[in-house]
C-alpha cells in the first residue's frame, strides 16, 4: 500500500474516478435489493414498482437510491472524463486506459437507458417506441433490428425480459470487466502527473521521467492521497441518499397501457439533449445524423489518444481542447434546457385549458370575438402563444398584424406553409373572416397593421385600412 504517486495528484481534481467506482458499488447493491421484489414481466412490472414504492418497508428509498445513483453516476463519469481530457491523461502511455474509459462511458449510458426501460411505465413504453423508430431507419437491416430489439412484433413481455437480461446480466458483466481493466491500468501505469505547461510528453522519455518524479517528489497513495477520495466518495453517497430521501424515487408514471394516449412521453434527464436534437434537426438530416453521429463521435474519442498521444498536457497550452469542452458543455446544456420546456411540442390542452388573455378581447367587435373563439376551438392556441401562454411551436401572435397584411393572414390560415398546417378545408368562409378579423387586432397599442402599399395604389384611393379593421 506504499504505492507512490506524484505529490500534486493528491488533489481534489483527482477524486472523480474513485467516486464513480463507489457509486457503481452502490448501484450493484441497490440493484440486487430491487431485484428481490421487482417482477420483469410486462403485465406485473409496473405493479411491482408500486408495491416497492408503497408496500415494502423502505422500498421507495432503495428505488430512490438506485435512480438518483444512476443520475449521479452518469454525471460523475462525464466530469471524470472532462478532467482526464483537460489534464491530458489520455496521452502516452495511458491510451488504453482512455479507450477502456470510452467503453465505460458507453456501457454506463447503456445501463441508464436499459434501466429507464425497466421502470416499465408510459415513458418507458413510448421511449422504446422511439428507440425502435430510430433503429428501424438503419438501411436494409432496420426492421430486423427492431424485431430483435423488441423480441417480437410489438413492445410487450419479451421486450421487457430482454432489457432486464441486458440491464442485470449482460451490461453489468461488461461494466465489471471494463472497470477491472481500467483500475489495473491505472495501478500499473501510475496516476497521471499534474500537467505543467512546458512539461511535454515524449514517448522516448516519458516513463523514465514519470518514475523519477514519483520517486523524487512522490507521496504514498495511502494515506496521503486516498483521504480526499474517501471524503468525496462519502459526500457523494450522502448526496445520493439525501436526494433519494428528499425527492424520492422516479415514478413510475402512468401504467404501460398503449391505449392510454393522453400522454406526452419525456426521456430521463441525461437523454433530454437527444430529445431536443431530434426535434430541431431538419427532417432530411435526421436519419444520417442519428445513425452516423454517434459512430463518428465514438471513433473520434477512440482515436484521440493515438492522434494526440504526445505533446503538451496542460490545458493552459491546449486552447482547442478547452474550447471543445466548452462547446460540448454549452451545446449539451442548451439542448437540455430547451428540452425542459420543449417549445417544439404543441401544448395539447391549450385550446381548452388556457384562455386568451382578456386584454386581447377588450373593446373588440362581435366578429373579432367570434374570431377569438375560432382561434380557441380550432386549436390554434396549441401551437401559437398569446400573452406568452400557449404553444410555442409556431410564432407568438401578440403582434402578428404588424408582420402580416390582411391578405397574407388569409393566405397563411388557408394554405398554411412554413411548418403550419393548411386550414382551408377546416374553416368555412365565415370562420376564416372572423379569425382573420381577430388576428388583425393583434398589434401593440398605437401601431397600425401591416398594409400592402401597392394595393392602395392599385385601388386608386387613399391608403385604406383593410375593410374589417375600419372602426
Amino acid at each position: 500500500m506504499e504505492h507512490p504517486v506524484p505529490r500534486e495528484t493528491a488533489s481534489w481534481f483527482y477524486v472523480f474516478g474513485s467516486a464513480a467506482f463507489v457509486v457503481f458499488i452502490l448501484q450493484i447493491v441497490t440493484g440486487i435489493m430491487l431485484a428481490l421484489i421487482y417482477v420483469p414481466s410486462a403485465g406485473e412490472a409496473w405493479t411491482s414498482l408500486q408495491t416497492l414504492n408503497h408496500n415494502v418497508a423502505l422500498g421507495w428509498f432503495i428505488r430512490g437510491l438506485h435512480g438518483w445513483g444512476s443520475n449521479f453516476m452518469v454525471a460523475i463519469v462525464l466530469i471524470h472524463m472532462v478532467q482526464v481530457f483537460l489534464f491530458g491523461a489520455y496521452k502516452y502511455p495511458r491510451e488504453l486506459t482512455w479507450i477502456v474509459g470510452v467503453f465505460l462511458l458507453l456501457v454506463t449510458l447503456a445501463m441508464a437507458f436499459t434501466g429507464q426501460v425497466l421502470r416499465f411505465d408510459q415513458d418507458a413504453y413510448w421511449g422504446l417506441g422511439i428507440g425502435a423508430s430510430i433503429a428501424s431507419r438503419v438501411p436494409l437491416l432496420g426492421p430486423s433490428i427492431v424485431n430483435l430489439m423488441l423480441g417480437g412484433p410489438i413492445i410487450a413481455g419479451a421486450t421487457l425480459s430482454r432489457f432486464f437480461a441486458l440491464h442485470v446480466f449482460v451490461v453489468p458483466g461488461l461494466l465489471i470487466a471494463f472497470v477491472a481493466v481500467h483500475i489495473l491500468m491505472v495501478l500499473k501505469l501510475g496516476i497521471n502527473e499534474w500537467p505543467m505547461p512546458g512539461r511535454v510528453v515524449r514517448k522516448a522519455t516519458y516513463v523514465q521521467d514519470y518514475h523519477e518524479l514519483t520517486k523524487k517528489d512522490g507521496l504514498p497513495f495511502v494515506p496521503s492521497a486516498v483521504w480526499k477520495d474517501l471524503f468525496f466518495a462519502a459526500f457523494i453517497l450522502l448526496s445520493i441518499a439525501a436526494c433519494a430521501a428528499y425527492f424520492g424515487p422516479f415514478g413510475p408514471s402512468g401504467p404501460p397501457d398503449p391505449t392510454i394516449i393522453q400522454t406526452a412521453p419525456r426521456p430521463d434527464y441525461f437523454f433530454l439533449w437527444l430529445y431536443a436534437v431530434l426535434s430541431l434537426l431538419p427532417p432530411s438530416m435526421e436519419t444520417p445524423a442519428l445513425l452516423m453521429g454517434p459512430v463518428l463521435v465514438i471513433i473520434a474519442l477512440l482515436l484521440l489518444p493515438f492522434i494526440f498521444g504526445e505533446g503538451e498536457k496542460s490545458w493552459r497550452r491546449r486552447p482547442i481542447a478547452v474550447l471543445t469542452i466548452l462547446l460540448a458543455a454549452v451545446a449539451l446544456g442548451t439542448f437540455t434546457r430547451l428540452a425542459g420546456n420543449a417549445p417544439w411540442s404543441p401544448v395539447m390542452d391549450a385550446w381548452s385549458g388556457i384562455p386568451i388573455p382578456s386584454k386581447f378581447l377588450h373593446d373588440r367587435s362581435a366578429l373579432e370575438r367570434q374570431g377569438a373563439l375560432v382561434f380557441q376551438v380550432k386549436q390554434c392556441h396549441n401551437c401559437h402563444s398569446l400573452g406568452d401562454r400557449g404553444g410555442k411551436r409556431g410564432p407568438a401572435l401578440d403582434a402578428v398584424a404588424v408582420r402580416l397584411t390582411y391578405d397574407q393572414l388569409i393566405r397563411q390560415v388557408i394554405q398554411g406553409g412554413g411548418n403550419m398546417p393548411a386550414y382551408g378545408k377546416n374553416l368555412n368562409p365565415a370562420q376564416t373572416t372572423a379569425i382573420v378579423a381577430f388576428l388583425e387586432t393583434l398589434r401593440p397599442a398605437g401601431q397600425s397593421p401591416a398594409r400592402n402599399a401597392s394595393r392602395a395604389i392599385a385601388l386608386g384611393s387613399e391608403p385604406a385600412e383593410s375593410p374589417l379593421t375600419d372602426r
Binding site: 430483435l148 391505449t259 406526452a264 411551436r393 411548418n419
Partner: protein, 180 residues
C-alpha cells in the same frame, strides 16, 4: 530436433483439444444464435400480421374519426396491457375507411385526433397530420401509417400485428381516396 520438441504427445493432444472445443463450440453456438434470432427469422416467415376485428361498423359513424383498440394477434399471457393496441378509424363516407396506426411516423409517439381542427397532433416533437393521414407539418417525413382493412358481416377488420416503424411499413398502403 526443434521439430521433434514442438510436437510432443501432450502438445499434440492439447492442440487436438483446442480443435475439439472449437467444433463443440460451433455446434453449441448455432442453436444459440438461431434462438436469439428467432424474432427475426423463424417467426417472420409466417409473418406477424393477421386480420383482426375492430368492432361493428356502427361504432364508426360516417365522416368521423374514432379511436379503436384491439388485442395484438401475437401475444403472450404475461404481456398485460402492452398487447392492447390503439388505432384511429376514419369512416370516410360510410363506404370507405381509413385506419391509421396510433404511432407518429416520426418516432412512434401516440398521435391525438382533434376533430375541431381535423388534425392529428403528436405530443413529442410536434408532428401534425391532416384528417386523411397526410403530413401537415413538423418533423415526420411521411403521412401516418395506414392499415389494410376489409368489411365482413358488418364488422371492420384490419391487417395488423406489428408495430409500424418508419424503416419498415412496406406492408401498409396509402389509399388514393381520402377522408374529407
Amino acid at each position: 530436433m526443434t521439430l521433434a520438441r514442438r510436437f510432443t504427445r501432450r502438445e499434440l493432444l492439447m492442440r487436438l483439444g483446442i480443435v475439439f472445443n472449437g467444433i463443440a463450440g460451433v455446434i453449441v453456438a448455432v442453436p444459440i444464435v438461431r434462438y436469439l434470432l428467432a424474432p427475426v427469422t423463424r417467426e417472420r416467415k409466417v409473418g406477424y400480421d393477421s386480420w383482426i376485428p375492430l368492432g361493428n361498423l356502427e361504432q364508426f359513424p360516417s365522416g368521423e374519426t374514432r379511436l379503436a383498440t384491439y388485442r395484438n394477434p401475437v401475444v403472450n399471457p404475461w404481456d398485460g396491457d402492452t398487447a392492447d393496441i390503439a388505432c384511429w378509424v376514419c369512416n370516410v363516407d360510410g363506404q370507405m375507411f381509413q385506419v391509421f396506426a396510433i404511432n407518429c411516423a416520426h418516432l412512434g409517439c401516440p398521435v391525438r385526433w382533434f376533430p375541431q381542427s381535423s388534425l392529428f397532433m403528436c405530443p413529442c416533437h410536434g408532428g401534425v397530420y391532416y384528417q386523411d393521414g397526410s403530413r401537415a407539418s413538423g418533423p415526420p417525413e411521411r403521412g401516418l401509417f395506414e392499415y389494410h382493412y376489409r368489411i365482413e358481416s358488418g364488422k371492420l377488420l384490419i391487417k395488423a400485428g406489428e408495430m409500424p416503424t418508419p424503416g419498415q411499413a412496406g406492408n401498409i398502403v396509402r389509399n388514393i381516396r381520402t377522408c374529407v
